[in-house]
Amino acid sequence: MSRMGGRKAFDLEWVERWARQVNEDRRLPVIGRFFSGRFVLGIDDTDYLIEVNKGKVQKIAEGLAPNDFGFEFALRASSVTWGKFAQQVPPPMFNDIWAMAHPLHRHLRIDGNAMTFWQNLRALTHMLSLMRKA
């Protein structure tokens, strides 16, 4: 377990634990059945590529490579921000992706094709909430 004194390390092992939570979830096969594509989870200076097929994570990768053929959208924030988001009871302004990205707060940046982000918001929101179990 890659934790630093109770604080999550947000390394590839942590991303994998989260991805396995996603794949074990019993609702995502339904609410995420049309969510297929690649998105980036940006944590500090590291981009993790997340490849999703029908609501399940097929592959995760640390860093981006030419053979990835890019991604649809990216959610980038500091590890401090993700740390707050991933708490069992996240603090105000950090409990939700749109809360963190909202122009009033800007704790998280949405890059790339925001259309894909909005189209899959329900499944994505549920997926990311499973970070609280990782």
Binding site: M1, L12, R20, K59, A61, E62, V89, A114, W118, L121
Partner: protein, 322 residues
């Protein structure tokens, strides 16, 4: 044995800006009239817990109506001829609230509005202060930018789900799940483009920063905002309340939809305010009721435990197939 809520629902025809609106409302009680204003894109069901609660309806005539285009209230009959998308304006919103109160012949009602229904209280206080006896502005401030965005009404995006999900995070994670998800459901019920159109009022047409300090103070305003409100933060409400004469500001542990996301917590928070309002004892109110509010209990959500990990590769670009 059958169980019924005490709510009665009716339709009233409201004239506003030259058009007639068949307007649905629900009510219960016979005391001081209290008109409840729902949030953007939803309807009066957000107040079902308050309208059905004897602690409220034994003291107030609780009334929750659906704005035109919302819930069971229809759009104007010629809406299909409109050349612009639906946009709620400050002028129409305020005039419609006043017209609805007149249609029901209410005497000096209390207004309790939430989110956009809270923000409009500032306009009501400026233009119609003699119409009302007190305002309860939930999750309100004098300027709330950032919400009038096309993603909320776009043919490539499921409007119902995106509207409901984009507002889900406005609620406290500690509000009871069943109430948070009922709130989500109410949001998922709105007509196409109505949430976004309401947010034209909320984020574009309602910059009240210049006029909050001009309010006379004759109409008391009670601001109540939850800590998890990221659209109208506690600081935004506090900054507004500081400028408004004869106002109070209450910040509590909760979210943007206190009446529907945690009715028990909300009752605890609002009860002292309701007692103060009843103490106003306005001569145009019918006499009678005394306060008898009880406090509710709060619930907490339970989250699960985490899963297993396996060792990761140690060199090169690390890729894991799942």
């Amino acid at each position: 044995m059958n169980q019924h809520d005490p709510i009665v629902g009716r339709y009233v025809y409201v004239q506003c800006q030259g058009k007639t609106y068949r307007t649905y409302y629900e009510e219960c009680g016979e005391g001081v009239p209290m008109v409840c204003l729902h949030t953007a894109g939803t309807d009066g069901r957000q107040y079902r817990h308050q309208v059905c609660d004897p602690d409220y309806y034994n003291n107030f005539r609780m009334i929750a109506f659906d704005m035109p285009w919302h819930g069971k209230s229809l759009p104007p009959k010629d809406f299909y001829l409109m050349e612009d998308e639906y946009k709620l304006t400050t002028k129409f919103y305020a005039e419609f609230i006043v017209a609805f109160c007149h249609a029901l012949d209410l005497k000096k009602p209390v207004i309790m509005g939430q989110s956009m229904g809270g923000n409009i209280c500032l306009e009501l206080a400026l233009r119609y202060e003699n119409e009302f006896s007190a305002l309860i502005a939930l999750e309100a401030c004098d300027y709330s930018p950032g919400w009038w965005i096309d993603a909320l009404h776009h043919p490539h995006i499921h409007g119902n789900e995106v509207v409901a999900t984009s507002t889900f995070g406005l609620m406290s994670p500690e509000s009871p799940d069943e109430h948070r998800w009922e709130t989500w459901w109410l949001y998922a019920n709105g007509g196409p483009g109505i949430f976004k159109g309401d947010l034209y009022f909320y984020s574009v047409d309602s910059d009240f920063r210049e006029h909050t300090s001009k309010l006379s103070g004759r109409l008391p305003i009670y601001f109540i905002t939850g800590t998890y409100d990221f659209a109208c933060t506690p600081e935004m409400t506090e900054r507004t309340a500081e400028k408004v004469k004869n106002s109070e500001c209450i910040i509590f542990d909760g979210g943007h939809f206190p009446t529907s996301e945690d009715p028990a917590k909300f009752k605890q928070v609002v009860t002292p305010v309701l007692k103060k309002i009843l103490a106003l004892n306005h001569p145009e109110w019918r006499s009678g009721s005394s306060t008898s509010f009880s406090d509710g209990n709060r619930s907490q959500t339970q989250l699960g435990s985490h899963g297993n990990a396996r060792p990761a590769p140690t060199s090169g670009r690390r890729v894991i197939d799942l």
